[in-house]
């Protein structure tokens, strides 16, 4: 499968890799939703954001699975900032990970703040009430501009990402992809999976995980060749981070890598392009770093669209 990372990759090889996984039963239905949403885009920009971690089942009747750490904080926060910048947003995220708007409160806080008024109405009390009022206003204003699609397994993620990319392709450079999901690098081939729950009496078990080929390469080259593509690189070891980020740019031919370290990712990221590194940091705890990241991405995306138009004029 290593050939998937080869610059001379062809589509037949990718399609072959996909046959390792069953196609989700609702794939056609999701395509219809996405197509309908894209019709509403008009002449403005659209971003596809991926968010949260994928799971890889260990058993066919899934009781256990390998998961990737990701609460979906970065993706869901970024979605709100893209909406503020008048983007249409397709938010492809792990079921039960953070969502735009609802991420600001949790159920227990809310239950604690609810009371029944004299007239029998259910009200949200202060101070959560004030905070929520603003969120409700923002949500009602933006909900037509946001499409939510959920995944759980790596297989669902792979199929939805490809299908949505196909749907987005006609938008050309007006489409941005902001790939913040924590996608498993490994999978367990169906033939290696146990049918039933593995029994502990069988003794210690050994799991063999195969490498998932980097689908960023076919995505950039074939699925959305004109789109502005941003990927993320998360490492726990700072010493290899920038090197890996720049290598990814070379290998996949996309536009921007946002490099971050696990420990400091909420205060510092580095935007890595072919030519330069731009560090973004915050120290003001009131501010979210995603606000600054999205500002930068939107500026670069606008320049990219503009550049494309100038090239078209020259031709």
């Amino acid at each position: 499968m290593e050939c998937l990372n080869d610059p001379n990759i062809d589509l037949a090889v990718i399609d072959q890799f996909y046959t390792n996984f069953a196609e989700p039963s609702n794939l056609a239905e999701i395509r219809v939703q996405v197509d309908k949403f894209i019709e509403s885009v008009g002449t403005g920009p659209l971003v596809l954001i991926t968010s949260g971690g994928t799971i890889v089942p260990i058993e066919h009747n899934t009781v256990r699975f390998v998961d990737n750490f990701s609460a979906g904080t970065r993706g869901s926060a970024s979605a709100e900032y893209f909406l503020k910048k008048n983007y249409k947003v397709i938010f492809l995220y792990r079921l039960k990970s953070c969502e735009p708007f609802t991420r600001h409160f949790n159920m227990s806080q809310l239950l604690e703040s609810l009371s029944i008024s004299d007239s029998g109405l259910l009200e949200v009390n202060s101070p959560l009430g004030e905070k929520l009022s603003q969120i409700v206003k923002d949500y009602k204003q933006q909900k037509e501009n946001l499409l939510l699609v959920t995944f759980t397994t790596l297989a669902e993620y792979l199929y939805y990402l490809r299908e949505i990319s196909f749907a987005v392709k006609p938008l050309g450079s007006r489409a941005a992809l902001y790939l913040a999901a924590a996608v498993s690098d490994f999978y367990i081939p169906q033939t290696n999976m146990a049918t039933h729950k593995i029994q502990s009496k069988d003794g210690p078990i050994s799991l063999c995980l195969e490498i998932v080929p980097k689908i960023l390469r076919p995505l950039v080259k074939f699925w959305v060749p004109a789109a502005f593509v941003v990927s993320f690189k998360l490492e726990t070891d700072a010493s290899i981070l920038l090197d890996k980020a720049r290598k990814a740019l070379h290998r996949y031919g996309h536009h921007l890598v946002i490099a971050n370290e696990l420990q400091s990712r909420k205060r510092e990221v580095i935007l890595v392009t072919e030519k330069e590194n731009q560090k973004i940091t915050i120290d003001d705890s009131e501010m979210e770093i995603e606000s600054l990241i999205v500002d930068e991405v939107v500026t670069r995306h606008k320049n990219y669209i503009e550049m494309g138009r100038n090239v078209e004029k020259l031709i």
Copy 2:
């Protein structure tokens, strides 16, 4: 480690197994909360419910982990029914899995139902408003009778379970343990864990998982010897389910195993004791099977307490 399942087990062996895992930093704090809660029990019954799945980290700086499938539906629903039966409930559950009361609604539904009234108050609209009003009433009535404690990793679960068991022990037979959590049977010893995120360029990886000894045995024998202990057995293969359930009773010496199959677990369970199997089924989709399970468990727990009193009188 197999010796942990030996009837002649001694505490030193268990303590040795625990040293595989670092003690959670808030363990003493949780003990204080639990002790305070137990003071409020008076002469009534208390149940410790465990709920949700444990995770087993693959790396020290955790990016990936092995997880156990469990939304926490059974545990959180059961907690509500125990509260209705005037139990004090300690709910030890996986962070972000279902909680009593909040399990009845989700954030997106709620956001959709919120609106700002003419007087500027945030209100929950119908039909969610009516449903939520009843939940809010129930919650306010019961919240003093419920203590929530969260875990994420297997290590946290093991330490909290033991510590809460110690705290509960003085209640004798008035304490019930209702062990509905999906606890990993396997763990990765610290010495086998990678320090940093495993790199996919290193090729396919092989994970070696060691068996977690069944801590039900020391729990029943040493930690809460007088308590009424209920465990759950979930299998995907019906043919081995009842046999495994009865073997568990023999091996660990507790009082009841609730056996269920993954596919049918919301409609059917079998209560397995030394002497008999009692099948519980529902076909009315309005009813939750946990209501019937808890009815049965409470009846059996009452008989157990009564039996203990009669024995005391005879002595």
